[in-house]
């Protein structure tokens, strides 16, 4: 398995459970398509649950950034939930950790959307 994306709705927040590898090719393409699909459906409150992401490369990081800017430019919010240590470390050394609104608990993340 490269990556598995599962969408669910919690109130007005679209939660995407991401599992597996987000790397150049199938993984990053699937995430990009998912984000575009949600924007096309006017979903503006998006929470990416990355707790089951086992691996992410620079292309995957690029997709997260691209999704963030796309959603933000559309007037929405994209937040991250449940970063593994490796993903957190990558976001920190690339100075992206402070760009994203990152949460550890889903309920807290859901409530943070305005």
């Amino acid at each position: 398995m490269s990556v598995k994306l599962t969408n669910r709705q919690v109130g007005d927040v679209s939660v995407v459970d991401v599992a597996g590898r987000i790397t150049l090719g199938e993984g990053s393409s699937a995430l990009r398509d998912c984000m575009r699909d949600m924007i096309a459906k006017s979903q503006r409150k998006i929470l990416l649950n990355l707790s089951e992401v086992t691996y992410i490369d620079s292309s995957g990081i690029g997709e997260l950034v691209s999704g963030f800017t796309t959603v933000t430019n559309a007037g929405g919010q994209l937040k991250l939930l449940g970063l593994t240590k490796r993903v957190k470390d990558l976001l920190q050394i690339t100075k992206l950790y402070t760009v994203f609104d990152v949460h550890e608990e889903e309920a807290h993340a859901i409530r943070s959307f305005t």
């Binding site: 790397t23 490369d57 620079s58 800017t69 690339t94 760009v99």
Partner: protein, 147 residues
């Protein structure tokens, strides 16, 4: 593929197609040999990801998926240095031309973080143009002897 595990040195040498399958393959080979060489989990991840990033550069940006162009991939373990060489047949690039991914104006760029991560993860990283065309990158991770 050639492999020599005698005398405390190990070498691997492969000529790979310009495909994403080659990226996955090279990453796995590098991690497998690194594991056999005694690297711990965290360093295995850093080595694997560095190889992945450089292989992507070679396949995608260097050879541009051209089936006629190959990637020369080799690993050697000698004198406490785990050295990986990846050479493509593309047009080459200058390190100095790469934008700083940590600069405020570049933080939200979609790409441009691969080489930065490799530099952060490996103990030594060198890039040079090769003749008649292409780019060679050398990645080194020092083997730390058990305490």
């Amino acid at each position: 593929m050639g492999e020599n595990t005698g005398g405390g040195t190990r070498t691997v040498h492969e000529i790979l197609d310009s495909s994403l399958d080659s990226v996955d393959h090279a990453e796995q080979v590098a991690m497998d040999l690194a594991q056999e060489s005694g690297f711990e989990e965290e360093d295995l991840h850093k080595i694997g990801m560095s190889v992945r990033e450089c292989m992507v550069n070679a396949v995608v940006h260097g050879n541009r998926y051209n089936a006629q162009k190959k990637v020369d991939f080799s690993i050697s373990l000698a004198n406490g240095r785990y050295t990986i060489r990846i050479a493509d047949q593309g047009d080459g690039f200058e390190l100095s031309d790469l934008p700083d991914p940590l600069a405020e104006e570049n933080l939200l760029r979609h790409s441009g973080r691969g080489i930065f991560l490799v530099r952060a993860f490996m103990d030594d990283f060198q890039v040079r143009r090769i003749s008649p065309s292409g780019t060679e990158v050398i990645l080194v991770k020092n083997v730390v002897a058990p305490a």
